[in-house]
């Protein structure tokens, strides 16, 4: 059985993962999430 602390920790991790995934997809659509172009692609290089 999981105690309360474990459940809270698991929820926090999964929430963080959800936000991270959303953020990653969102940023890449703007062209700012890849490793180096920093928007030089003009925001639409399709790296999402």
């Amino acid at each position: 059985m999981m105690n309360v602390q474990s459940i809270i920790l698991l929820v926090v991790v999964l929430l963080f993962a959800g936000i991270a995934l959303y953020n990653y997809i969102h940023n890449n659509r703007r062209g700012g999430g890849c490793h180096g172009c920093r928007g030089q692609c003009g925001g639409c290089n399709g790296c999402s």
């Binding site: 999981m2 474990s6 920790l9 030089q40």
Partner: protein, 808 residues
């Protein structure tokens, strides 16, 4: 004699410019026209290309192209440049007030107010800023246009408050960027790649031309490098022919002033018929005044007061009569095509195929135009393109004689000349380049980057131990604890330790780029690259590829031929990007200890060698023919700006952290789940891991890698996640194997080498593939993926077999 026969240090006067097509036009646009003095500065290490000094700047071209240019030797050339400047420059005139209240163009037409002003002149006393904000629904668009490396992006950053990367070599900006002028709502300023004329030579120049002609900006802000007004004004004249409001920003005026030069702004404004504003984009001087003028002329659509630059007295007025005859003749076609008639005419005479086609002249009209041009060529003694270039430069020379007091040789130029004796010297250039690159890699992987990585690694281990003890105290459920510690933290933590190395490498790449050395590397390596079917210009994207493949692929836009672009893009994945450093470090350290940095440098060299072999094959089989000509401007060396460098490092660090805590974090969680559950979603014990979803799926694919020595499901999983982001490989290996230190118990050294080689060469990440797709299309993107996977497999197999035989 031809230009290639001129000895080092000798000067000559150009008599004819041979050759044909876009390259010849490019030479003419760069100011290499009959009558111009040219000096041979030096030859590159292998005797080719040549570095020339023409119109006050350094230009490089190949000997074969120089052989098309005829010159007469100038003996004992002692003419003082100051003699060229007439007395007229000392005459001053009142400020013409273009782009301000009281603009002569409006008072001439009888009105005291602008057409858009209210009848009672109620807005006349308000400032431009308030007027601009009053027209809230009207967006004013500005295009930043200028030669390469004249400071457009620096000005763009000042205008918009953006932090776009600036560099000191021609072609840093390869695509348009938009922003709003600070403090002025409803304005949009677009930074465009640098161009030398409106006859585009490379694909990023096409971006600029297309924007100016198709998107009709409200105003063009033309940035002119004040240290080289003569060549920069060539583009200005073409922009003025477009009949769009133009404001000239004379950039780097601080440098001109500090070296005893000056520009008579009032007279230049009077001669050009457009506002001329002295600025220093780097020091943010004069930018406010520039914005005020730009807003004013954009809002009131004040077009250039002068568009006619041909003189009726120049060589009997041959070009003048030809221009005006054709202007009248094609006026209706130009109107229908929506092209300004003066611009259409000059391009028609130059033989620009795009404009010629757009005008849709009938057969009879084409013949008439052809006859008029032939007549002009006979009278002028020059061919059509040279005659138009000469007409423009003749006007520019008159402007410069009256307005420009040339600065003496600047501190930067003296310093550049001294440094170039070593850095591009015939016998010293290549050894120095090798030494510099060796030093960069040594500092990155060993001296600084490697040491800092150890410190970071210890810190992360300590944090892991603390977290484990905390979870124990809180009595956290074992599988939640495993998810966080063995899954997320192990994966993300292993990647984070590589931040110091990655930042170190980006720091040095930024130094190469910002100092002006990158352009020299292109000059020095042109002969070598020609052997594999490329030009020296391709070295710039390839070096950027050591940082990241995405900007590297984008940077190929500076290459003037599709063939060179494709081949350079195909070679980019062979240049090991910083993301792969994490994999190399992760695998090499446990096997090679202190010598790991040598293995890592060896991998970089192997990547280059395989790339060269691939290029040779590609040249023989697919990319037949010769590389494009090497024509490049060499900028002065400059000290890289601290702010620019820190900004770049911060951006890289941010990108890396963002990646670690987003996609790598999520990937580690997904892999942890697949590794700890079976298909019935039962949680597995450690010894049951072979029944996990991950083991079953990856185990089916793993035999492909058996001949390479690593045919297990764990490595296969890691390699597949590397498609998303390369750092995933080490994050996942850390997770599934339980730590890098355990690797020597699983792999032999031979297998480790084989795995490193495969990781070096196999498919680039999704972001890079998507960029290839965008630049060259789906088919080429697929070709890159397949190529790299097949080559990686073959080379890893060869290495595995050979090293195995050697009994390593």
């Amino acid at each position: 004699m031809t230009l290639d026969e001129l000895h080092i240090g000798k000067k000559g006067i150009i008599t004819t410019v041979g050759g044909d097509g876009a390259l010849r036009q490019h030479f003419l646009d760069m100011g290499v026209i009959p009558g111009v003095e040219v000096k041979v500065e030096k030859y590159a290490p292998m005797g080719d290309p040549i570095q020339l000094r023409v119109r006050g700047y350094e230009l490089t071209m190949r000997k074969a192209d120089a052989a098309e240019i005829e010159v007469v030797d100038v003996m004992n050339h002692n003419q003082d440049e100051s003699e060229l400047i007439g007395d007229k420059r000392r005459m001053d005139i009142p400020h013409p007030r273009y782009g301000e209240e009281g603009d002569p163009r409006h008072t001439h037409t009888g009105g005291t107010h602008h057409p858009q002003e209210t009848r009672h002149g109620e807005n006349a006393v308000t400032t431009d800023q308030t007027r601009a904000t009053n027209h809230k629904n009207q967006e004013l668009t500005f295009a930043l246009v200028g030669n390469q490396n004249c400071g457009k992006t620096t000005l763009f950053n000042q205008l918009t408050g953006a932090n776009q990367h600036v560099g000191n070599f021609p072609g840093v900006t390869v695509d348009r960027k938009d922003g709003q002028i600070r403090g002025y709502a409803h304005t949009r300023v677009t930074d465009l790649p640098g161009i030398y004329s409106l006859s585009p030579y490379t694909s990023e120049e096409v971006v600029s031309r297309r924007f100016i002609l198709d998107e009709h900006p409200s105003c063009i802000i033309n940035i002119v490098d004040a240290t080289n007004v003569e060549r920069n004004l060539y583009l200005t004249m073409q922009l003025m022919e477009l009949n769009i409001p133009v404001v000239v920003a004379l950039n780097m005026m601080d440098e001109v002033d500090s070296n005893g030069g000056t520009v008579r702004i009032n007279r230049m404004e009077h001669l050009l018929g457009v506002p001329v504003i002295p600025v220093s984009a780097m020091k943010n001087e004069g930018v406010d005044e520039l914005v005020r003028h730009a807003l004013h002329i954009a809002k009131y659509q004040e077009k250039p007061a002068r568009q006619d630059f041909c003189s009726a007295s120049d060589h009997g007025g041959a070009v003048h009569r030809c221009m005006h005859a054709i202007m009248h003749f094609v006026e209706d076609h130009a109107e229908k095509a929506g092209i300004p008639v003066r611009f259409a005419t000059s391009k028609l005479i130059e033989g620009d195929p795009l404009v010629t086609e757009a005008l849709k002249l009938t057969e009879n009209e084409q013949q008439t135009v052809h006859h008029i041009i032939r007549q002009m060529e006979e009278e002028r003694g020059l061919d059509r393109s040279a005659a138009i270039a000469d007409m423009r430069f003749s006007f520019i020379e008159r402007v410069c004689q009256e307005c420009v007091v040339k600065p003496r040789e600047s501190k930067e130029q003296r310093r550049s000349r001294r440094m170039d004796k070593v850095l591009t010297g015939r016998w010293t250039a290549l050894p120095t380049f090798m030494l510099i690159m060796g030093f960069i890699f040594w500092v990155t992987f060993e001296a600084v980057g490697g040491t800092l990585q150890d410190v970071m690694s210890e810190g992360i281990d300590q944090m892991s131990a603390n977290l484990a003890s905390l979870f124990h105290q809180w009595d956290i459920n074992p599988w939640v604890s495993s998810l966080i510690l063995d899954g997320a933290w192990a994966g993300v933590g292993s990647v984070l330790t590589f931040i110091p190395i990655i930042l170190c490498l980006f720091f040095f790449l930024s130094m190469l780029e910002d100092s002006g050395y990158m352009a020299r590397i292109a000059f020095v390596t042109d002969s070598l690259l020609r052997k594999i079917g490329l030009s020296g210009r391709s070295i710039v994207p390839m070096l950027i590829g050591f940082g990241c493949s995405v900007p590297s692929i984008m940077a190929t836009r500076t290459l003037p031929s599709e063939r060179d672009r494709k081949l350079t893009i195909m070679l980019t994945p062979f240049m090991s990007c910083t993301a792969k450093i994490a994999i190399y470090g992760f695998i090499a350290r446990p096997f090679f200890g202190d010598k790991a940095w040598m293995v890592m440098i060896g991998l970089y060299l192997l990547g280059i060698c395989v790339g060269v072999a691939f290029a040779f094959l590609a040249k023989l089989l697919v990319f037949k023919g010769e590389a494009v000509p090497f024509v490049m401007e060499l900028p002065c060396y400059r000290l890289p700006g601290r702010k620019n460098t820190l900004q770049l490092l911060w951006d890289k660090c941010k990108d890396f952290l963002q990646k670690a805590f987003t996609i790598i974090f999520v990937a580690t969680l997904v892999i942890w789940f697949l590794q700890h559950f079976d298909f019935h979603l039962n949680m597995l014990e450690d010894e049951q891991v072979e029944q996990s979803i991950l083991a079953v799926i990856s185990g089916a694919i793993a035999p492909i890698f058996t001949p390479l020595g690593f045919g297990d499901w764990q490595t296969t999983t890691a390699l597949f996640t590397g498609f998303i982001a390369k750092e995933n490989v080490c994050a996942i290996m850390e997770q599934v194997y339980g730590g890098a230190e355990l690797l020597p118990q699983i792999f032999s050294r031979v297998t480790a080498i084989s795995l490193l080689v495969f990781c070096l060469l196999y498919s680039p990440c999704v972001a890079a593939i998507a960029t290839v797709r965008r630049e060259l299309g789906k088919r080429w993107a697929l070709r890159v993926v397949l190529n790299q996977c097949v080559i990686a497999w073959i080379v890893a197999w060869v290495v595995y077999t050979l090293v195995g035989f050697a009994g390593f």
